[in-house]
Amino acid sequence: MATGALQIAGARRPGWRKALDSVPLHVFFIVAGVLWALPAIGLLLTSLRPVDLFTVSGWWTALSHPGQLSIDNYRHLFDSSLIASSFVNSILIAVPATVIPVLCATLAAYAFTWLRFPGRTALLLVLIALMVVPLQMALIPVAGIYGLVSPPGIVRVFLFHAAFALPYATFLFRNFFIGIPHELLESARMDGANDARIFRRIILPLAYPAIASFAVFQFLWVWNDLLVGLVFAGGTPPVTVAILQQMRNFGSSVDVISAASFLSLIPPLILFFAFQRYFVQGLLAGSVKG
């Protein structure tokens, strides 16, 4: 399958001059592009307008009356301590939820690739099977475990995310490792390195592309998650959950909701534009993920 990329290299493309022949097509795409971007623009403009205007006029009136616009909502966002801290919570959740699986999965993938142990093939198949378990299957029993141990909400969330990322991450890294030539390890072994050293000094640096690809996708998945945060975060919710809590009073809280929502878009958008290449791959694979 072609490396999922928004930019596809390969076959000849029509040049600009020839393309100008098909004006209706261009009109179509201008309309389509505007239509697709419009809802998000609506969010942005809503977040830049005072809340009492929301029930009176539409956000599009701001286009002809730019005087409505102000960044007050964003300023007040950080007065409300719950929303401000929810951004911190999201980071505190997303970072460990990305780092932990990277560590555990690279180690396990190393074992699956180069270490021999009984039942290696069988365990690999189990791993592939585990990739399809929906996270709904784990919510209730894990809630029970957490009830006994009582870790803080943030820990509950990121441990869950880390665990569910593991089957797919291990599979991904193993596939990558298989491509690394044996000779590298052989010569390192001959130089006296044990597995731990080979892992740290040789494999991890080589695995950077796979790790980056996974990390971007995992960070995004966790940052954007709602359900796991809703179930486990308790009093320290991530941004998604904090916004959802405001939705009860949608009309009167739309200033907070829209501003917070727009801010919550920024990290994913930055990651998206920086790492476009990995996205489609990740998504097709993400359909496999719980």
Binding site: L6, A11, L107, A108, A111, V142, A162, A163, S264, L265
Partner: protein, 450 residues
């Protein structure tokens, strides 16, 4: 005779070194393997393996987990109207969503092949995939506001609807002199007939001044013209009081844009006109009459009130529409990638052989694309089965039962209200059974592709 002596002694390590090539000893568990596998194994064991088993077992116990109830929970799940409604909604999603998104994806991908700004459009389409479904939910909740004043969707529909039906301004207006005008349907009709040379006076009260268009002027009492029927429609009320009922006086505004009809004795509309900014109108009648003067119902009908997107009947289609907006980019980009792998020469050859674009598309492109289309389709199906965030965000609390889906029902049953983990587990198992075959098929295809 040669012996192979390693140049360097094998490194001394605590356990056996596994040999990667050649004759190898039977694999044994050693500390290295255990060390490398343990972290992942512990996590997966605690968080995935144990819970799967535990959930299945838990589904056979009651709410508190103390009493074994057999398949009672499953029975409850499939007879509970809320859950059944949720399943029904998932079915609606399944019928509409994957087909729609794949269809749009193919259409966009194919058309985009012909323009050089492909990347820009793809990026715009794809961006909703990068952000949280909660944010997308908020975006669409804003779009779906009912009032055409505030909700973008309804604003567009309103401008179309109002352009077609020309709604009136004067909702709630009633005659200031009821004996002169009778209700006729939702409109009004003068009790007395008129003939050319007559002047018609129609005064109205009972509606807010905000309904009068800004260009309205003080009403002018027209003078009779022979051969024409003239008249005035005005607001028979002076703000602050004063004046006489039925008189056209300064301070009383004329009512513009009122549709006035002349109806002949057979009941058909002989002529129709609109009042001007002073409320005046005139007809050049073609015959001597007599006519009834009628103000049709549309003058008093309110303008388009807005589709209730977030009401019980439309909320599921509304959420599906939002979901299509989110996922079309995924389909477009993925299928676009697939299209790029189709050899241009193949398409050229077909065109040279005389195939039309449509035939090229149907006979060459689609068959070559079909494995990818299936993967995309299955991915969408999986997402439908687990759909949660969008529904919970877009549907206001009162409409949740109408918009409900399986994953949401599970959350509501298990984690809100009293919290029934028994039934919740049963729903989870049900979801698991639905999702597994689909995901397994996807993985198999995925691995086949490579």
């Amino acid at each position: 005779m040669s012996t192979i002596v390693p140049a360097v002694a094998p490194p001394v390590v605590e356990e056996e070194r596994p040999i990667l090539k050649g004759r190898a000893p039977a694999p044994r568990w050693n500390r290295v393997a255990i060390g490398f596998l343990a972290p992942a194994a512990i996590f997966v064991g605690i968080f995935i393996v144990y819970p799967v088993i535990a959930t299945i077992i838990r589904s056979f116990f009651n709410r508190t987990g103390e009493t074994f109830v057999g398949v009672d929970n499953y029975f409850k799940v499939f007879t509970d109207s809320r859950t059944l409604h949720a399943i029904q909604n998932n079915i609606i999603w399944l019928l509409v969503f994957p087909v729609a998104v794949t269809g749009f994806g193919v259409m966009f991908a194919v058309l985009l092949e012909r323009v050089p700004y492909r990347l820009v459009v793809r990026t715009i389409l794809f961006t909703p995939m990068a952000v949280s479904l909660l944010a997308s939910g908020v975006i669409w909740r804003i779009m779906y506001q009912q009032s055409p004043e505030t909700g973008a969707m309804n604003a567009v529909i309103a401008s179309v609807a109002n352009a077609i039906t020309h709604p009136g301004h004067y909702q709630g207006a009633r005659p200031s002199q009821p004996d002169l005008m009778q209700p006729a349907g939702d409109g009004y009709q003068m009790s007395q007939t008129v003939a050319p040379g007559d002047v018609v006076h129609m005064g109205f009260i009972g509606f807010p001044v905000s309904e009068i268009p800004a260009n309205a002027q003080d009403a002018k009492d027209p003078s009779s013209q022979s051969g024409r029927i003239v008249g005035v429609v005005w607001r028979d009320f002076i703000p602050g009081g004063g004046g006489q009922v039925g008189q056209v006086e300064p301070g009383k505004k004329g009512l513009p844009d009122m549709t006035v009809q002349l109806v002949d004795s057979k009941g058909s509309v002989a002529a129709q006109t609109q009042s001007d900014t002073a409320g005046d109108f005139s007809f050049a009648s073609t015959s001597t009459g007599p006519y009834h003067v009628v103000l049709p119902a549309q003058n008093f009908h309110p303008p388009f009130g807005g589709v209730q997107w977030l009401g019980s009947s439309l909320v599921t289609p509304a959420i599906i529409l939002a979901a299509i907006w989110v996922w079309v980019g995924f389909a477009t980009v993925t299928i676009g990638a697939g299209l790029a792998t189709i050899s241009r020469d193949l398409l050229e050859a077909a065109r040279v052989d005389g195939a039309t674009e449509l035939q090229v598309f149907r006979r060459v492109t689609v068959p070559l694309l079909s494995p990818l289309l299936i993967v995309v389709f299955i991915t969408l199906v999986i997402n439908v089965l687990k759909i949660f965030d969008l529904v919970y965000t877009i549907a206001p609390g009162s409409v949740i039962p109408d918009a409900n889906v399986i994953a949401l029902q599970l959350y509501l049953v298990a984690f809100t209200g009293l919290g029934d983990f028994g039934i919740g587990s049963a729903i989870a198992v049900f979801l698991f059974l639905l999702v597994i075959p689909v995901m397994a098929a996807n993985i198999r295809r995925f691995q086949g592709e490579g």
